[in-house]
């Protein structure tokens, strides 16, 4: 039998207790055609260096844990394959634009806070209890928001977004897509509350239409479109604010 093919991974390392900044470490691993980059990292951890640190869980691109930069592109490590980077070396680094906790593990607390500020949950248009039964919602009505509901919160879009890199206050692609997911749901009545987020400087106006967020999304969510859909409404509200006496942009509208 012939020797298995090998590939070198250059992995970004950073240990806050030991390193003054990120460094690169090379590992050579045997690989087969079906091995994902994640499985390459797992091979390193199991057999070569147990201190290499990364997040993973489902290994089927639905839990959103294993996002990292692979040869400079934001990817889920479980969703791309070593064979596609042969002969290597392939560079694996922490997601751009986030503080690094250790090696490939980023601090995602900023996103989790943003998820709350955009009210990414259903605010019922009318109060119901289970005894009232389900809403009727046609497949056509579902189609309005359905694509945005596919977001797995993997944060690849934040790593792709230059605006987020420069202005971390910007709510960012995934949070604004989830905001739009609920705004477009005909069961929801919370759009007024979300307008304040949309209209703020950290809202849709933070986006400069690069569109890279939508390109890197592994689930076909189109955050750039969600943001664009909101710019028109936000502009209209801004102008209306000038025309209607006694109301100013950003004022409480509840």
């Amino acid at each position: 039998m012939s020797e298995p093919a090998k590939i070198t991974l250059e992995v970004q390392r950073y240990h806050p207790e030991q390193d003054s900044g990120p460094r690169w470490q090379r590992y050579t691993v045997p690989y087969t055609a079906e091995m994902s980059v994640l499985e390459g990292l797992q091979y390193i951890k199991d057999h070569l260096d147990g201190s290499l640190t990364f997040r993973w869980s489902c290994r089927m691109a639905i839990c959103g844990s294993c996002g990292c930069m692979i040869d400079g592109e934001p990817e889920l490590a479980c969703h791309v394959f070593l064979r596609d980077y042969a002969p290597g070396p392939v560079r694996v680094a922490a997601l751009d634009h986030f503080p690094i906790q250790r090696d490939l593990v980023i601090d995602h607390s900023d996103f989790l806070e943003k998820l709350e500020t955009v009210h990414s949950y259903l605010i019922p248009a009318e109060e119901r209890t289970p005894a009232d039964g389900t809403h009727r919602q046609t497949p056509q009505a579902m189609a309005d928001y359905y694509d945005y509901a596919q977001c797995i919160n993997c944060l690849l879009c934040y790593a792709a977004c230059p605006q987020y890199g420069w202005h971390p206050d910007f709510a960012g692609p995934a949070a604004l897509a989830l905001l739009q997911r609920y705004n477009l749901d005909d069961r929801d009545g919370g759009h007024r509350l979300r307008e304040r987020v949309i209209d703020a400087e950290q809202g849709v106006w933070g986006c400069t239409l690069v569109g890279y967020c939508s390109e890197v999304c592994p689930k076909g969510v189109d955050p750039a479109r969600a943001i664009n859909q909101n710019k028109a409404g936000s502009a209209a509200r801004y102008l209306l604010g000038w025309w209607r006496p006694g109301r100013r942009r950003g004022e409480d509208r509840e």
Binding site: H15, P16, E17, Q18, T32, A33, E34, K45, D46, H47, G50, S51, T53, F54, R55, W56, S57, C58, R59, M60, A61, I62, C63, G64, S65, Q101, R102, V105, D107, H108, L112, L115, E116, S120, Y121, L122, P124, R128, P130, A131, G133, T134, H135, R136, Q137, T138, P139, A141, M142, Y145, Y146, A149, Q150, I152, N153, L178, Y182, D185, R187, D188
Partner: protein, 590 residues
């Protein structure tokens, strides 16, 4: 020594998957002033509920009935279900599905806007609510996002729960490690809900996420709680060879068929036929998972499977459904098959084989989720409520985590208000005692690599406690697990001795739990000298034996030589055990 950080609350929920989130929400709704700590080793939306695909059961059609759901569940469980709990379960499923809809879950719909339900294995009619083939994903995100609305729920994301704190026979908190810093935190509360998921990762070939390692079960067991029915491990019949990635039963619910090397729908040869008309409930590919996985094993033995680079397989054929329906109902399966198996299900059958999927057994609870330890509750896969018996029906587990997550959350909230709190000194001592052996792992200079020990665990379980079992293999497995326990006691050598985000350290603790749970599985299986549901033997005990084994198994923690097994009665209310038949033979017997 520096004082340990302490978080005082009223209720600790361990695990942020479907059951944990549902429990936390229920507790917060019932008692808005309650301080609920949601402690999870991953951010909630990373939990394994996210990977559930096919559906969640709840009677929805006019031609369906609670009796129908009850009978299917009890038959599916080969009469090892506690029927009083099943009755309560089926009565509450639908309201939970509706509640989730009202929280925004995008259930798939009919043209007129009413929700749609699909067929699932072992179910008499369409009863499984679904959101395309990402049901668990949508349920989990809906629950997580809804939980943001409750200020009483304080999340502790990426805190690894290391142990329960138990004083004088009552739970009084948990010891957790903040993963980012590696620092211990003592959570004090008179009520704890374990919602930590199953233990499928004790096997090598499984559909489970890496986090499904059984700590909740092991923690309860270490504090004297006997684990129930642990021999009943479910093999899902359709997973990708090698990786074990799940290919949902929803494929067959939509009309997909299984064929062997000769293109024959082989399930007709295992008492599940005839093949026509199709689709037909409780027949052929819509039979229960245990029967389908066992049929694969026979086909494989007979050489009628297909060889792939990743092991033998049969073919799951969806082509006749047509591209439009495949893309509408099974979009994720299509993407998974294309990417991870290199086949387009629109044009080519998907190669599939069984892999471990679900732990039917777990921490025994009553219908309110209360475990036999004062202050301890459990819900979801880590619990054994008694509804699954010897074989769980697909789509009953997503329903279970809602129904019993809510029940456990409510019961724990009540308990939290009435129970007395422990003195400070007691808590500090308990937390310190729980922490010491965990820190010892970091100091260990000698021992074996974790991956070596884990490989051995997988080998033992796949070989000795597989789809088919026998006395000799189970004896060998029990011995080998004991020997592995000895090796573990000799030490794990970690490359990583630091505290900051040390996942190797966490994996070592997970492995300790997995081995403990694996022993309860092997010992429980050896003591069940019959064949029932997912526990089948190919030795002298190849038949169901109601005389001796219409009983639950309890695996008590032993004195060091292994678990101590006890058998206790099953609760039967109105369905007397009879022959469990599917296909033509099963029709009319329900």
């Amino acid at each position: 020594m520096q004082a340990m950080e302490q978080v005082d609350c009223d209720l600790v929920v361990v695990g942020g998957g479907g059951a944990g989130l549902r429990a936390a929400i229920a507790a917060a709704e019932q008692d808005p002033g309650l301080r609920v700590a949601l402690v999870s080793k991953v951010v909630p939306m990373r939990s394994h509920t996210v990977a559930a695909e096919g559906g969640a059961a709840g009677v929805a059609r006019e031609d369906d009935s609670l009796d129908g759901h009850f009978n299917d569940t009890v038959t599916g469980g080969d009469w090892l279900c506690d029927q009083d709990v099943v009755e309560r379960f089926v009565a509450e499923c639908t309201a939970e599905m509706v509640q989730l809809e009202q929280w925004g879950c995008p259930w798939s719909r009919q043209e007129d806007g009413r929700i749609h339900v699909r067929f699932f294995g072992g179910m008499t009619t369409q009863r499984s609510w679904y959101a395309a083939d990402k049901t668990g994903f949508h349920m989990l995100h809906t629950l997580f996002q809804t939980s943001l609305r409750y200020p009483g729920i304080q999340r502790y994301d990426e805190y690894f729960c290391a142990d329960l704190l138990v004083d004088d026979g009552a739970v009084c908190g948990v010891l957790a490690l903040e993963i980012a810093s590696g620092e211990p935190v003592c959570f004090t509360a008179p009520a704890v809900v374990l919602a930590t998921g199953g233990a499928g990762r004790v096997y090598g070939q499984n559909t489970n996420a890496g986090i499904v390692t059984g700590e909740g079960m092991a923690m309860a067991h270490a504090h004297g709680v006997a684990l129930r029915d642990m021999e009943f491990v479910q093999w899902h019949p359709t997973t990708l060879p090698g990786s074990g990635i799940l290919i949902t039963e929803g494929c067959r619910g939509e009309g997909g068929v299984l064929t062997n090397r000769d293109g024959r729908r082989y399930l007709q040869d295992y008492g599940l036929g005839p093949t026509e008309p199709w689709p037909r409930p409780k027949a052929m590919e819509l039979g229960p998972r245990d029967r389908l996985s066992q049929a694969f094993w026979y086909e494989d033995q007979a050489g009628r499977t297909i060889a792939t680079a990743q092991g033998s397989a049969v073919q799951l054929d969806l082509r006749h459904l047509g591209e439009a329906r495949i893309l509408e109902r099974l979009p994720m399966i299509t993407e998974v098959a294309r990417r991870y198996a290199g086949v387009d299900p629109v044009c080519t059958p998907i190669p599939v084989r069984p892999a471990v999927h679900y732990t039917m057994g777990g921490i025994p609870t009553d219908a309110r989720g209360a475990a036999p330890l004062d202050g301890l509750f459990a819900a979801g896969e880590c619990a054994s409520t008694g509804i699954h018996g010897a074989n769980r029906l697909g789509s009953n587990s997503l329903a279970e985590l809602l129904v019993f997550g809510r029940a456990a959350g409510q019961a724990a909230a009540e308990h939290a208000r009435s129970a007395k709190r422990r003195r400070q000194g007691v808590l500090e001592r308990l937390a310190g005692e729980a922490l010491a052996p965990r820190l010892e792992l970091l100091r260990n200079e000698r021992g074996e690599r974790l991956a070596v020990l884990r490989g051995e665990l997988h080998r033992i379980m796949e070989q000795g406690v597989g789809i088919f079992r026998n006395e000799q293999g189970l004896d060998e497995a029990c011995r080998a697990l004991a020997a592995l326990r000895e090796r573990l006691a000799g030490g794990i050598r970690l490359d990583d001795r630091s505290r900051t985000y040390n996942t190797e350290w966490l994996t070592a603790m997970e492995f300790q739990a997995s081995l403990q749970v694996a022993e309860t599985m092997a010992w429980s299986a050896r003591a069940r000298r019959e064949s029932r549901g997912a526990h089948v033997r190919n030795d002298a005990y190849d038949q169901r034996d109601d005389e001796r084994f219409l009983v639950h198994t309890l695996a008590h923690p032993g004195d060091g030589s292994g678990p101590v097994i006890e058998h206790v009665p099953v609760t039967i209310t109105r369905s007397t055990p009879r022959r469990r038949a599917y296909g033509a033979e099963g029709e009319g017997s329900a």
